[in-house]
Structures are given as C-alpha cells and as structure tokens.
C-alpha cells in the first residue's frame, strides 16, 4: 500500500527508517488533503448544479452563518493542521540530534563540489561512503557561499553555512548508492554540484576506512609537506592529474575538448587565445601559471570570471605538475594528407 502511494507520488525509494517515517506523514497529509478537497469541491459542484441561474429574475434569500458554522470552519482544519504538526515537528527534532556514538563525517561544500572527511583524516571528493545500519552524524560547513546537502532518498537536507557548522544525521538501511544534490543556489554550476552516497556493508566499510588511513599514513611519510597531494613515485603528469581532480579543476575544465565553464585543457598548451581585453596570448607555461594564481587578470574571451585563485592553495611542485598534465593533453596535429612541408602548430577554434 505504502509502496503504491510512494510510486504514485513519484517519491524515491526510502533508504532509512526516518525516510519511511516522513513518508508516512506525507501519505497522511496527502490523503487528508485529497479528502478535504473532494468534500469542498464536491459541495461546490453540487451547489453549482443545483443553484445554476435559471432566469434573469432569479431571487436569492439572505443567509447568514450561525456561530457554530464558523466554529466548525475554524476548528476542523485547525485540528488537522495541528495533528500534522504534532507528527512532523518531533520527526524534525529527532533528525537534528544524533544518537551518541554516531560516526562523525565532516562535509564541506565549495563551489561546486562536496568534500568529505572521515575520522582519522581520510577524505574523499564527491563520494560519501558510510556503513549500513550505523548512525552517521554529518557536520556540514561551506568554504564560500551557502550550499545545501540534500539526499532525496534519505529525506534529508541541511544547509552548509560558511564559517560555521550545521549538523544532521542518518542511518542508512542497506548497501546501495544514493544521489546527493546541492539544494541551495550557489552560482554558475549549482546544478553540477552532485555527489554520491555509497552505503557499504559495515565490515567492508571498516576495511575501506582502514585502508584509507594506511594510505594516508604512507603518503604523509613520503611527502615533504603533510597532506601534500603529490604522491611520491608517480610521474609528474599523473601527479598533475591527481591534483587537478582533487582541487576540482576538472569540474570546470574538460580534458576532452568540450566547452565547459572554463576553456578545455585539451590542446590548450601553446594555443593562441584571444582575451576579453582583445589581446592575444599564447598559453605557455607562464600563462598557465599566471592563470592559476590570478585568474581574473587574463580571461579568455567568451568565458566568465568565475575561477577562484589558487594562490596559496597549490604548492609550487603541484603547480608544475598541473602544467605538465595540461601539456600532456596536447594531441599531435592530425593532417589528412601526406606529412609534407613545415608543420604548423594547431590552433583549434574555441
């Protein structure tokens, strides 16, 4: 029955007990509303048929309500509204207070990605992994503007406020994957600020988090700076790809040539770009570095000034790695004919 109602109302599957409780209230509200609607519009329809105008000299009596009419008009809906509230408000209060012993996960929204940090230090981007059947408390903050952490399947939403923490909690039933949205408008790629909630079997989660902690420890041993994104042992290009992924560069810059929020990185190196000022620059190492440090200074024509500065966020080796990565994305100039004469640098149109 409740599954049928859920499908009729297009509600997504409920992934926690809280979600099912909220759905029950939802069904109760919808059913009472529909019954009230039927009663009111049925009455109105009956009146309209029975008392339609039959002639231009129709006369009508004066009818005044009695006090009990108005008392009924007030009392009945108020009773229903208060019952709804009496069910809904405790549900809300419950959803704000995590049970003791819940696992803490720090959630940070920033334009336009979600970052999750687990106990002991591991972190992940745009993917929240939690164990099934255990309570998880989310401590949510933002680094720039207000975002809102929203998991429809959990009927859960909490704004992320810059500079302070809000909290909420949930306990997912079973392993599975659930969509995470940003629900508070936060600018250009608001609708691209998606993430995924991965619910794992508890033992798998324990293994995963242990592995993460070990990996973190190894990286910390290896790297000169703790928390450095440059994992030792990989090639510079590979490191650049990691940095670009973790820092969110790839949220705006595609590597397959498609136009996105920022210019694509494919064939960007040594490309001649027209700036919004009309000047033309060659995208060499110097320009690429400048663009990371002071993005607003030289904006490619046709793009918005939305990129944050990475001054202080990237170490010099990381910058070099990203530049190397961009350089690696240069395709050889492909020509249809035989390879004759001087080879020109490809300048694909924007």
């Amino acid at each position: 029955m409740s599954d049928l109602l859920r499908r009729l109302l297009f509600l997504p599957p409920a992934a926690s007990q809280h979600a099912r409780d909220v759905d029950s209230l939802h069904f109760f509200v919808v059913i009472t509303t529909m019954l009230a609607g039927l009663a009111i519009f049925g009455t109105a329809l009956a009146f309209m048929i029975r008392y339609r105008r039959r002639g231009e000299d129709d006369r009508t009596p004066e009818i005044q309500p009695r006090h009990w009419h108005e008392a009924l008009f007030i009392g009945v809906p108020l009773a229903f509204f208060l019952v709804w509230f009496a069910i809904g408000y405790p549900q809300f209060v419950e959803s704000t207070r995590a049970p003791p012993g819940a696992m803490d996960v720090f959630v940070m929204g920033k334009q336009w990605m979600w970052k999750f940090a687990y106990p002991g230090g591991p972190s992940s981007l745009d993917e929240l992994r939690v164990p099934a059947g255990r309570p998880v408390r989310l401590l949510i903050t933002s680094r720039d503007v207000i975002h809102s952490f929203f998991v429809p399947d959990l009927r859960l939403k909490q704004d992320a406020l810059p500079g302070r923490y809000t909290e909420t909690w949930f306990q997912a039933d079973a392993p599975g994957r659930h969509q995470i949205f940003c629900a508070e408008y936060c600018g250009l790629s608001h609708s691209g600020m998606l993430a995924e909630l991965v619910v794992m079997k508890p033992e798998e989660f324990d293994a995963w988090i242990a592995l993460q902690r070990r990996g973190l420890a190894r990286a910390q041993d290896a790297a000169a700076v703790p928390g450095d994104l440059l994992a030792a042992g990989s090639s510079l290009v590979e490191q650049g790809r990691n940095v670009a992924a973790v820092q969110g560069c790839l949220k705006c810059h595609s590597i397959d040539g498609s136009r996105h929020i920022g210019p694509t990185w494919r064939d960007l190196y040594r490309r001649r770009e027209r700036l919004s000022t009309g000047a033309v620059v060659t995208a060499d190492e110097a320009y690429l570095t400048r663009s990371m440090m002071d993005p607003a200074a030289e904006i490619v024509d046709g793009y918005q000034n939305v990129m944050p500065t990475y001054q202080g966020k990237l170490t010099p080796p990381e910058v070099a790695a990203v530049v190397e990565f961009i350089k690696s994305l240069k395709t050889p100039a492909v020509r249809a004919g035989p390879s004759e004469g001087p080879v020109y640098e490809s300048t694909p149109g924007r």
């Binding site: 109302l9 297009f10 209230l25 519009f41 008392y51 004066e62 208060l82 406020l161 600018g187 000034n305």
Partner: protein, 551 residues
Amino acid sequence: MSPLPAGDPPVYAARNYLNTPATGLRSWLTTLDHKRIGVMFLVATLVAFALGGVFALLIRIELLTPGPTIMDAMTYNRIFTLHGVVMIFLFMIPAIPSGFGNFLLPIMLGARDVAFPRLNLLSFYLYLAGAAIALWGMIHGGADTGWTFYTPYSTTTTTKVVPILLGAFVVGFSSILTGLNFIVTTHTLRAPGITWSKLPLFVWSIYATSVIQILATPVLGMTLLLVAIEHAFGWGIFDPARGGDPVLFQHFFWFYSHPAVYIMILPAMAVMSEVVCAFSRKNIFGYKAVAYSSLGIAFVGFFTWGHHLFTSGQSPYDAGVFGVLTMFVGIFTAIKIFNWVATLYRGSISFKTPFLYFLGFLFFLFFGGMTGVALATVSLDVHWQDTYFVVAHFHFIMVGSTIMAFLAALHYWWPKLTGRLYSERWGLVGAVLIISGFVFTFLPQFLLGNEGMPRRYFAYPARYQALNVASSAGASVLAIGFSVVLVYLLVALRHGPVAGSNPWGSRGYEWETSSPPPLENFEVVPAFERGPHEYHDLPAAAPGAGEGRHA
C-alpha cells in the same frame, strides 16, 4: 447569453474619466485622478507581466532537455533571477492593489479621489523609476542570485546585483505610498452611510494588504540596502568572513517576503469576494468572518517567516514556534474558502468568465494553501525545501491565485474600466486554456519535487526529463491562453458592445455610477443605505446581464 431585459438600452457615458479633462498623453502623465493612475499601473504591470512571462518561457524551453538546450548556465541563472524579480516586484505586488485598488477603492467608498492624489502619482513614478533602474541592470548583465538575494552569494557575485537591488528598493517606496494612501482614504473619505460594517469586502482586503505594505516593506528596503552596501563596500553585515551572520539576512528578507505573499494573495481574495457575490447573486456568507480573516492573515502572516529557514541552521526552537504559527495562517484562508463555497448555497449562479476564474482560483488556493500548510509540518519541509515542490507550491498559491484574480478582475471590471463588454465565448476559451495550462505546468512540478529535483537547476539527471517536458508543454498552453485573452480584450476595447452602468446586475457600490465613471466618480455624493453584498432585496426589474448593443 440571456436577452436584454426590458428597460433602457445601455449607454456609454459621454463624459467620463477617459475624456475629461483631456485625452492627450500629457493629461494622462500629469493626472491626479486615481482612476487614470490605476489604469496606468495596470498597463505598466501588464508590460512587466509580459516580460516576466517571456523569461518563464525561456526557462521552460531550457529545461526541455537534461543538458544545455538553448542557453548556457550563466544565462539561465540570470533569466530565472529576472523572472522572479520582474514577476514579484513589478507585477504581482503592484498589479491588483495599485492597479485595480487605485481604480476601485475610492469609488467603492463613494469618495472623489484618494486622500493624497499627488502621493498617488508619485507612487506611480517611483514604480516607473524603480523598474527603469532594474531594467538598466538587466540590460547591463542582470543578476544571477535568484530573487531571494541570499548572502554571501549575492554580495560576492560579479553580476549587476546592485541596480536590481536598488530598483526593488525604489519600487518598495511606491508600494508604501500606495498602502498609506489607501489606509487614510478608507479611514477618512467614506461616503455617508458606508460604515465599517458596510465596507465592500474588496476594501477590507486591500486595507489589510496596505497594513502589510506599510509595516513590512521598510524592513525589506533596509535589507536590500544593506546587501547593496555589503556588495559595494564590504562592511561585513552579513559576511561570514567578517563575523556576520548570513542567516540573519534570511530572517530580514523573509520578514518582508513572507508577508509579501499575503500582499499578493489578499488582493486576490479581495477580488474573489466581490466576484462570488456578483455571479451567484447572493449575499456573502459570513461578512464579518471574511472581513476579519483578511486582517487576521495580515497580522498572523508576520509571525511565520521562519518557516523558510527550517533547513538553514536556524534553532529548532524557532522552527517550532514558526511552524505552529504557520498553521494558524492556514485557518484564515480556510475560513474564506468555506464561506465562499457556502455563499453559493441557494444562489443563482451564472457561469460568466469571472466566475470561471473564481473556480480556478478556488482550486489553486486550496491546493496551494494545503501544500503550504504541509510544508510547515517541519519534517516534510526538510525533504521539500528548495525543490520543485516549493516552486510548484508558491506558483499555485501566489501566481495561480493571483493571476486568476487578476484575470477575474480584468473581466469583471472591464465594463467599468472601458465602458464595453468583451466576448463571453472567447472569454470561456481563454479561461479554460489558462486554467488547464496552469495545472499542467505546475502539477508535474509537485511530482518533480517529491522525486527530489532541486530548484534553480540548469541541468538535471535524465530521470527527471519526462516530467519536465510535461511541465513545459503545459507552459505553452498557458502562453496560448494569455495570447487569446490579450487579443479579444484588445478587440473589445474598440468593438465591444456598450456595457451600460451595471451589466452584471451587481450590487457593488462601484456599479452605481456610469461606465466609464465620470471624473468625480459620482455625479452627486452618494448615500448608501444597503450593504454592497446584499441581493435579497433586488428591485423587481433587475438590471440583467445584458449583451448590450454595438455603439
């Protein structure tokens, strides 16, 4: 249409406000006559409505496909912002109070004008000035903040948010002056015989609206100014990086903007109380209940703003207080709905165009209102907040009801405004198209919200496409409906049959004067002995709903 009853053929008032004292543009722009100012407001708000409607269509076209369809994300963000700003500040808030209210309120009170005619004209020019400033901002890049201007996004965006804020600020003053004028007029300029218990229900509701306009608008004005200062100078009032509290902005914003919903809906209720009596030819069931519930909405409407902040980090205690108070606002609306339906009992119901819009209004008000109360049951709001469910809810309650009332008012008072009748047949076509188009546009959005689609999304996961396409299809029906109405009304302006002073057989005071009314509203200062909603003592030869004759 029933044949014209025996009696004199309708006449077009030879000397009326449209041609006295002059007809030139200059005489309109410098007029102090409340009727002309009302008409100018109507025209200006209709232009704004058309602009906002174009933005709405662009949004719906863009959302036909999950990815980019006809524009990029930046353009989309600007367009939904402008859609909100134009529709709310330039159309829905002023349309009925400043347009119809200006035209009708003094006539319904038997007054010759509003208390302060110069302020009234100033109010119109402030509206134009505010609109011009906002329009300047729109042309020079617009803003991409959403009409809610939430900080700190609005204070850091590089788009032209300051002119839009200032435009809204100036329009706010227009709203204040109009409200001030209406309250003073109602208190001091009632004709002999019009006691408080014989005020038309339209006046009661507009009076309640004015109270909100006066008390809430200054807070919004200050808040918008603070955001502009913050954006321009970085004074840190709402800036979390400087110790400010962005949630405080939300408190201030909704302290105005929640009552602003009632600024839009109360005038709609005002219109409908008149229409339901006139077309069921019946006294209103429970005059006092309907009149006082308007004041109740105006008052309690101020106590509920925090229900917009349930997921914002607001304290749960505040959430509880605001949630339970919201339930009480629902009651006043329920009282009105029950009393309107009860008014139909033993009436003589005539299904003219305004009455059709009344039915649409009842539908949107009921479901919009009930979803509103459902949203205030806090735990459900957590799921629905900032999804398409909220979008559908407020389009039902604010837009659906207000548009229904606006169109009902336009048809019901069209003969009074212009002296002519529109075509009932085309009126029926337009009403059916608009009501069904509206339902088909926003019903899918309720379901989208249930499914979890957040609002203000430029791109969306593919599973939401079917419902989005359905919604866009509904919007196209809506657009056709509005075009139909526009065309036949323009035709009626020139070629409609002459209406006569009272084509509907209404007992409202405004129908006692000729159509269009003379400059001084009534040839002699009227003295009313009956109420404006009394039909039991209709004279034997009732002025029927006549088709009229071509002039």
